[in-house]
Symmetry: C2
Subunit: 366 residues, 2 copies
């Protein structure tokens, strides 16, 4: 296949018009409003354009004039590449891409260097709006996005007053799960959660840290657990909660190890994500603990791998969430009051939850 002549010719709409002896308006119309000029002239314009190597109206100049970039910006808290690793984020991304595609909008992934707090990329992005996915409420990039005069939709977290949002009821969803565990008889539980703030804290979580977490989703899930277990008289402040900065199966495993080392009598490990729960399953296996006979493990999200592992978890519609975020952003440019979409979740019984063994059973077998 031969490449079209690719000389860097600075042909512009104006130079084309001059060459043809017509006005710039006419050339513009040839591209954008074919009905505004005679077919014959239009043909001549396009023909001359080809001859001069004019690639058609410059998209940036057009955007400047029309105030439309034709793209949606996506801000993630993590490396871009992280989004391609985490199944839940991926589902969200897919849904968002679907929505953008449907509206003919591009999807502009904003590069975030997690090391430096370089907010410039946000200011440099030529987009008509932003979707912010799962960032901490004190993220400087978020502040930069909000300072831009374009509509914004936040997905999952954080809650920002006056900004459209799409998410789930994390607190209620995990409360429902906890209620099942309570019904099964679990009282002595441990929790493994994702990062609660921008600073790294791989270890136990104090009540204050949990309450002041900058990641609203994690805060809500912990609060939901506290609700449920508090309601049956469990002293929540004594329930061990282990935090991990990196969201990976390995993290889930090491956190579970830390938890079980600290309190071997825990009957259930409740994880705030499936990825972490898969790690918990691995650690249980490593210790020779049978799941669910010896240890109950639960997750959150409902990713495919969790399904495969038969994990007891909560399924949330990640793809739908992404799509909803996109639609919300693209639908009505500027309503007076912020909208909020709360999607439904579903408890997945799975096969990793069972009644706790009694102490006798634990020592002497069933």
């Amino acid at each position: 296949m031969a490449r079209s002549t690719h000389v860097r010719r600075p042909a512009t709409l104006a130079s084309l018009a001059a060459e043809l002896g017509v006005s710039r308006t006419t050339v513009s119309n040839a591209y954008n409003r074919p009905d505004q000029l005679s077919p014959e002239l239009r043909r001549r314009v396009l023909e001359t354009a080809r001859r001069l190597g004019y690639p058609g109206p410059d998209p940036v100049a057009r955007s400047l004039r029309t105030r439309k970039a034709g793209a949606v910006g996506l801000l993630l808290t993590e490396n871009l590449s992280y989004a391609f690793r985490d199944p839940a984020a991926l589902g969200f991304l897919e849904g968002l891409a679907l929505a953008c595609e449907g509206a003919g909008q591009g999807l502009h992934l904003v590069p975030v260097n997690p090391e430096r707090e370089d907010v410039a990329a946000v200011h440099r992005a030529g987009v008509d709006g932003f979707v912010v996915y799962s960032v901490p409420d004190d993220d400087p990039h978020l502040a930069a996005v909000l300072s831009r005069p374009v509509p914004t939709v936040v997905a999952d977290q954080p809650h920002v007053e006056g900004v459209d949002r799409v998410g789930i009821d994390d607190r209620a969803a995990i409360t429902a799960l906890a209620t099942r565990l309570i019904a099964l008889g679990h009282r002595r539980v441990g929790v493994v959660c994702m990062r609660l703030a921008r600073d790294r804290n791989d270890g136990f979580v104090t009540v204050e840290r949990a309450d002041s977490a900058h990641f609203h989703v994690q805060r809500a899930r912990l609060a939901g657990l506290a609700d449920a277990f508090g309601a049956v008289g469990v002293d929540w402040s004594r329930v061990p909660v282990v935090e991990r900065f990196d969201h990976s199966v390995g993290s889930g495993a090491s956190a579970t190890a830390q938890l079980l080392d600290a309190d071997p009598h825990v009957t259930a490990v409740i994880c705030t994500s499936d990825i972490l729960a898969l790690g918990a399953l691995a650690e249980a296996r490593r210790r020779g603990l049978r799941v669910p006979q010896d240890l109950t493990v639960t997750g959150f999200d409902g990713i495919a791998d969790a399904d495969r592992a038969g994990l007891t978890t909560v399924r949330q519609p990640v793809l739908e969430k992404g799509r909803a975020a996109g639609k919300l952003l693209l639908a009505s440019p500027d309503p007076t009051r912020p909208r909020e979409i709360v999607l439904e979740t579903e408890f997945v019984p799975g096969a990793t939850a069972a009644p706790p063994r009694t102490a006798e059973e634990r020592w002497f077998g069933p």
Copy 2:
């Protein structure tokens, strides 16, 4: 968290300058060249900006003036969402994102409506360059990209003269794999491949169709197989090749079924992707055929699921490919001659290939 006052104020750099009684240049410098004005004045500028609700220089206007958009466009042949499903595409995407992130460039996913041949989105994308991933050589979007006066890198396919490229040696890679099968004794084989052109053809492939395939990668892989088997006297024109338009495990399964129905004596099913091969494994299982004792199955790509399944395949560095594409695009804007990066592949022995059973064994057991 309170939202900053979000009045849609048309404050511009000029109005700010007027308010302050300084030139526009000075305001611009306050944002872009802090060393070009006194700290005191800069403070005043920023303070006034805040007061007036000026969000900082408009990215589009800046792009127009500087001729830099700060983003890389990505063109995929499929729905955007497809890219988030196919592990190989995903790996590529991740690598590309990594490269962009490293250079502080955004990644602009160009929306492609596979139904309509709507090329407008390509013309509307404000980007500094394009990466084209795995599109057919007659794709109109590709033509549109090439008509834009920005650097372009093609990944995998197609070969376009004068355009930088990154890929692997598909032909040699699959020839190496075929050579192993030949060494094991396979002579009567069948092939399952991905779509060869933009039109849907779910079924057997003629030699002409294979030779004139618009997807260079598939063409090369088929040619590589023809090379290897032709060299040992197999009449390639009689080897059944089944094509599937949709790239999915289900497609692999149904294609394999079609293949085995047509020729039950086939001893090996060679698939041009791991996804298809996973389908072949499923179909073999469904038929009660043991792999590799009763049937040899091979794939291509080296995705994680293939690894898990112990598939005999060829691993290609998809992430590295994406990263290389990004680096190539961002590195030197305009060299005189096109560059080509060919990455190494690796044969993965796996456990789904074995010597074919003889006819006796087939009927009477080993």
